[in-house]
């Protein structure tokens, strides 16, 4: 086992944890405002595809990241239209978003790169660039949530929208902004996967990382730094999984395929009861309903 936890594994773990960390941070922002976004997986996928297309066209993975973020923000705005303005069921809407994104990106990918043709690989962003970007964003999100008036209002809206409304906060506006921020981070997360560790897009490339991000939000108790730590643990198990696949081991390699998801389940089980859920999470706000 000593050969597993080498520097290379740690680096791979960092690379693989950054997409999840970014998406999970976005989910923390939107869930704290009371909007449960089960479309994170779909938004990551949309961002991943947009990033791949843009990076492939321009040759710059950084432009890919921008494109992914932009498309993520757009999907966030679409979700706002459905769940904040239209007050559709947040759980079903999120699932529908993810389904649509999964089929749509598969379709566009098949259409642009017909079968048999090998899709080109991207210039990848180095680890240092990704880490610096992520650290900056973690600090920004932490500061936004904990140290600004907007952050406090955002939390209030997620705990008691009626009270926040009575204090003069615009609940719909705050939730909309939080959801768009969440979408941008999910899109950026997908983009960081494609422009970072992978350097290519394949069908359903995110492989459930959006759902893992949602589980990590619960695990973290809706807090910024713990969610990033949780993402690193996921990345570590993912990296170990990739390393162990090629080696002889007593356990079948399929076990390691399942390992990141089993660990996510474990994290969810350990922390679900202990975490303080925002009181108004998943509940649409209707002025004067009470």
């Amino acid at each position: 086992m000593s050969t597993i936890f080498t520097l290379a594994t740690i680096a791979a773990a960092l690379r693989l944890s950054i997409p999840v960390a970014l998406a999970a941070m976005g989910a923390v922002v939107s869930e704290r405002s009371g909007v449960l976004n089960l479309g994170v997986e779909g938004m990551m996928l949309s961002g991943a595809f947009a990033a791949y297309s843009a990076a492939e066209a321009t040759g710059s993975p950084w432009i890919g990241l921008l494109a992914g973020t932009g498309v993520g923000a757009l999907t966030g705005a679409l979700l706002v239209l459905f769940v904040v303005v239209g007050r559709s069921n947040q759980i079903v809407t999120g699932i529908a978003f993810t389904l649509l994104a999964s089929y749509l990106t598969t379709y566009l990918f098949q259409r642009n790169y017909s079968i048999g043709q090998v899709p080109p690989r991207l210039n990848r962003i180095g680890l240092v660039g990704l880490v610096v970007m992520t650290v900056v964003l973690v600090v920004v999100v932490y500061y936004l949530l904990q140290r600004t008036t907007f952050g406090l209002a955002l939390g209030a809206v997620g705990e008691s929208p009626e009270a926040a409304d009575a204090l003069g906060y615009d609940v719909v506006r705050i939730r909309s902004i939080a959801t768009v921020i969440g979408g941008s981070f999910a899109g950026l997360g997908g983009a960081a996967l494609v422009c970072g560790p992978l350097g290519l897009f394949i069908e359903n490339v995110t492989g459930g990382r959006g759902w893992v991000a949602l589980a990590l939000v619960v695990f973290s108790g809706w807090k910024t730094f713990p969610v990033v730590a949780g993402a690193f643990l996921f990345g570590l198990s993912d990296a170990v999984q990739l390393r162990l696949q090629g080696t002889q081991s007593a356990l079948p390699y399929e076990f390691f395929l399942a390992l990141p998801y089993l660990l996510t389940l474990l994290a969810l089980v350990l922390r679900a009861r202990a975490s303080r859920t925002p009181a108004a999470l998943g509940v649409a706000f209707v002025r004067g309903a009470h």
Binding site: R87, N89, A96, L268, A284, A289
Partner: protein
């Protein structure tokens, strides 16, 4: 008709959950609106299908094909082609079974999305049982009965895990059911590589199902599974409308504390729902192996468990509606299979249209709840 948007509630006060989306049903009364007599329950799904096909037509135009031609050949593939209707029935079988399970669960506001995993477990275990040494030479009917039981039990067990994680630890069923899909996919690869592998086979795959294979029924041109799936529709409809189990499920969907107040543990109803939904998905897994695939291979996970969500929502969580929706979605699959190839369109186009259907259903539901007032 239960609308997904028509009840305020929390389940054990955990809003992440299988619980508390949305909606304030009394709202429309406050605004002094009256419910309109035409129920949108059929209008929304039909309009959603039409809208999805319209958007699909735009996509087809962008792709450089003629949408009238494409849709004409889709319809011809289903209604004119000799095998069109029976192929549709065969393709609808797993979708209907899986979607009935989702309908059951969503009515109780237990939001699971992991039927794909339960389907796979049903397939793995049932194939393992009916191809085991000493078992596989038994007569066909015995093997099929064994396979049905093994598939349903395995699917129920896999679904039951999510129920236990929720009732004992409060772990979100949405997330845990999906995590278990990935675990089931890993289990599939391992099972056909090691324990139930056909020793003669070069690639990892199970043995052929032999006597356990389902033949084509006369007149219908499809296998027994279709008859079972369609029969489940009225049975569940009766259960929802007339039986106390169905009543408890809808109470859980609307006001779980009322259940607990009447000494029926809401946790027990949640368990029952996830077991039943898992069992239906597991059954679908066995029928698909014995009626279509003939053996378990590495590509058994095709996403039927996710398409089932579309079917359940398009069918408005009503068992009869689900059967109709299953046939409609399967018809699109069968029709597009030929049409997409002959018009040089990507095969995934049909998935886009199917997913658009569900997005329009969700939007239509929200609009209906807001402006018309859906019957509760």
């Amino acid at each position: 008709m239960t609308s997904l948007d028509a009840s305020p509630m929390t389940l054990d006060d955990d809003p992440l959950e299988e619980s508390a989306p949305n909606g304030r049903p009394r709202n429309r009364h406050q605004r002094g609106q009256r419910a309109v007599t035409v129920s949108p329950s059929v209008i929304v799904p039909v309009a959603s299908l039409v809208c999805a096909l319209l958007v699909g037509a735009i996509v087809i135009v962008v792709d450089g094909a003629n949408p009238f031609e494409v849709y004409r050949s889709v319809a011809a593939g289903v209604f004119i082609d000799n095998r069109g209707l029976s192929d549709t029935a065969t393709a609808a079988t797993p979708l209907i079974l899986i979607a009935l399970g989702y309908a059951l669960a969503y009515r109780a506001r237990v939001f699971t999305i992991g039927a794909e995993g339960q389907y796979l477990l049903g397939a793995i275990v049932s194939v393992g049982v009916v191809t085991a040494d000493g078992v596989r030479d038994l007569p066909g009917p015995v093997l099929i009965a064994l396979g049905v039981m093994a598939g349903a039990l395995a699917g129920a067990a896999w679904g039951g895990i999510t129920g236990v994680l929720w009732t004992r630890f409060g772990a979100s069923i949405v997330i845990s059911s999906l995590m278990l899909v990935y675990v089931a996919q890993a289990l599939l690869q391992w099972s056909i590589r090691v324990p139930i592998r056909d020793p003669e086979s070069f690639v990892p795959a199970s043995r052929q199902l032999g006597n356990a294979q389902l033949g084509e029924l006369p007149f219908l041109g499809t296998h027994l599974g279709f008859v079972v799936a369609v029969a489940c529709g009225p049975v569940l409809a009766w259960l929802f409308a007339r039986h106390r189990v169905g009543y408890r499920i809808s109470v859980l969907g609307h006001n779980p504390s009322a259940l607990d107040a009447n000494e029926v543990a809401s946790r027990r109803v949640v368990m029952m729902v996830v077991l039943a939904a898992g069992g239906l998905a597991g059954l679908a897994g066995f029928f698909e192996m014995s009626g279509v695939n003939g053996r378990l291979g590495s590509s058994a996970s095709l996403g039927l468990g996710f398409t089932g969500i579309i079917v359940a929502l398009l069918g408005r969580l009503h068992p009869i509606g689900v059967v109709a929706a299953g046939l409609a979605i399967a018809g699109l699959d069968i029709g597009f299979e030929v049409s997409a190839r002959s018009h040089d369109l990507p095969s995934s186009l049909v998935g886009v249209i199917q997913a658009l259907v569900v997005v329009f259903v969700v939007a239509g539901d929200a609009l209906a709840a807001r402006f018309i007032g859906e019957g509760e």
